[in-house]
């Protein structure tokens, strides 16, 4: 299960494991070891079995890959280690036919971000993908997932998440065989643990800043306040430009712009 820190991939893996336990199946949910960073891509794993799960290692060749984030869903790495004939469930607004990941596997898609925004009011997509998971795989009953959700989110929050799961269950449709056969090139890291310099953090962004240079008054706020030096300053034109591979989409620049010359937009392309 691939997601970003704050999207709830680890919780989703635990909900699946708990739901399976409700149905009398043995299960195990393991997060990838390392430190979790808000916004940073990460991976969690679930094993389901009829007997107690003894192995305590990461899942290196999964049967199913679930991707909670639309930008991570574009990365070939999310299907690279799938077993032949496996299944990938992607959070994306695209149809399965439009998915550009290559290999021998089945693809299903669900627009979990929209579901989450409309049912929870926040882009936390972990539960919004579980309905689709239940329907497409047939591995778990919807009721078991709902029961498990209430264990993790009691009360009103649970009810909201259940609404997300139900809608995702209804909207999910059957997977199709992947149409692309050749694997596209790798772009960004899909798991970030620990410390150091990264190549490209585009996959961290939910919203992307866009600068209207005509409105810009050259105050340098966006430049001086960017924690990642993703805003470059041109001293000749006195205008900023964005280095998108370093932008995590925090929105600080847009917030600090005194003339609203920076807009945060939802870009999936």
């Amino acid at each position: 299960m691939h997601g970003r820190g704050g999207q709830g991939a680890v919780t989703a893996s635990r909900i699946i494991a708990t739901a399976a336990y409700e149905e009398g199946t043995y299960s195990q949910a393991i997060p990838m070891y390392g430190t979790e960073r808000r916004g940073a891509p990460l991976t969690a794993f679930v094993r389901l079995d009829d007997v107690r799960v003894r192995e305590r290692e990461l899942v290196h060749t999964p049967d199913i890959s679930i991707v909670l984030d639309p930008l991570i869903a574009k990365q070939q790495a999310v299907v690279d280690n799938l077993k032949p004939g496996g299944l990938v469930i992607l959070n994306t607004a695209h149809k399965p036919e439009e998915v550009e990941l290559g290999g021998d596997f089945k693809v299903a898609t669900i627009d979990a971000t929209t579901i989450a925004l409309e049912t929870l009011g926040r882009p936390i997509t972990n539960t919004a993908i579980l309905g689709a998971f239940a329907k497409i795989t047939g591995l778990l009953k919807l009721e078991s997932i709902e029961k498990a959700i209430l264990k993790y989110f009691p009360g009103r929050l649970g009810e909201m998440n259940i609404a997300a799961v139900r809608r995702s269950y209804e909207e999910a449709s059957d997977p199709i065989q992947a149409v692309v056969t050749k694997a596209p090139a790798e772009k960004v890291d899909i798991h970030v643990g620990g410390y150091g310099v990264l190549k490209d953090v585009s996959s961290w962004r939910l919203l992307t800043p866009e600068i209207d240079v005509d409105t810009c008054i050259g105050c340098k706020n966006c430049w001086i306040f960017c924690p990642e030096t993703a805003i470059e300053w041109d001293e000749d034109t006195m205008k900023p430009s964005i280095r998108y591979n370093a932008c995590k989409g925090c929105g600080l620049c847009a917030n600090e712009c005194p003339v609203d010359a920076i807009e945060m937009v939802r870009v999936e392309a």
């Binding site: 970030v192 410390y195 001086i224 030096t229 925090c250 929105g251 600090e256």
Partner: protein, 297 residues
């Protein structure tokens, strides 16, 4: 005391290598970026366990969590021994490494007046391990180890006044700074860099994850911390000479700082009023000290 600079005087060249692995909107990553702009390349950066902020184009060294003050001492003495005291020993530690587990060693280094510069990114809790309280956590703040419940109102006690404690070691320079005031921060680091002896700058570095606000609001939160008087910007030299760097005609109400942060969302009106009164009292003392130019404790 430091000299004011303008936005145009901030060096354009960057000392950080990005993107790094900090969270979105990380105040500490920005603190590192700004501070190392002022420091330049001729430093050895010292680290102890803390959040990842920004990777810098500097050599680095590190040790055990509690060893921060000692490692700085060793590097500084070692550099003198090999005839390279042109290189500065600079720490970039968190509040845990400064206020708590690293406190003893730093206090001892201050007492010995080691020739070192300590920069603390204060995000007011142990954020690297997931937001547990530290002695830098302000009163009423909810953390994962000071949750709110029938028997708890968040952290029961005030934040420790670490800048004053270090000033009481009669060291050459102690200052506070904020990522919301980059010119002030850079001016202070630039000034402190070339002083001799123990220098410390505590930089408030808001943490969207732990303080529970939208990452886009990091600067807003930092700025209102200063404008409400909860994070005053000042400098203390030789444990006595005092200067307040930001003096508005009137402070903004503390609720402007507290309410956007969900770590304070459980606070009652009475509790907010208590913080307001406490802040006003402390601010009065600071402004009087500023008029005198001398520290009053």
């Amino acid at each position: 005391m430091s000299e004011r600079i303008t936005r145009a005087q901030i060096p354009l060249s960057e000392m950080t290598i990005t993107p790094g692995s900090a969270c979105q909107g990380c105040g500490a990553a920005l603190a590192a970026r700004l501070a190392f702009k002022a420091l330049g390349p001729n430093v050895i950066r010292h680290g102890i366990p803390c959040c990842p902020d920004s990777v810098t184009k500097t050599p680095r060294t590190g040790t055990v969590f509690e060893g921060g003050g000692a490692l700085l001492t060793g590097t500084s003495r070692g550099l003198k021994a090999i005839g390279r005291d042109d290189v500065k020993a600079v720490a970039f530690y968190g509040d845990g490494g400064t206020y708590d587990i690293g406190f003893q060693g730093l206090s001892a280094a201050a007492e010995r007046n080691e020739d070192v510069l300590v920069l603390t990114k204060d995000n007011e809790a142990y954020m690297n391990t997931g937001n547990q309280r530290s002695s830098a956590t302000p009163k009423y703040s909810m953390t994962s180890t000071t949750p709110v419940g029938p028997k708890s109102r968040g952290k029961p006690r005030h934040k420790k006044n670490v800048p004053f404690i270090f000033a009481a070691h009669y060291v050459p320079y102690v200052a506070t700074a904020s990522v919301g005031f980059p010119e002030d921060l850079i001016a202070k680091v630039t000034y402190a860099k070339d002083l001799k002896g123990f220098r410390m700058i505590i930089i408030q570095a808001p943490c969207p994850v732990g303080w529970r606000y939208d990452p886009a609001k990091t600067i807003e939160v930092a700025r209102s911390g200063v404008q409400t008087g909860l994070w005053p910007l000042y400098e203390i030299e030789d444990g006595q000479n005092f200067k307040l760097n930001y003096k508005p005609k009137e402070l903004k109400p503390v609720s402007e700082y507290l309410s956007p942060q969900r770590r304070f969302r459980h606070m009652t009106e009475d509790e907010t009023a208590e913080i307001q009164e406490d802040t006003t009292t402390k601010w009065d003392t600071l402004t009087r000290a500023d008029e005198l130019g001398r520290l009053i404790i």
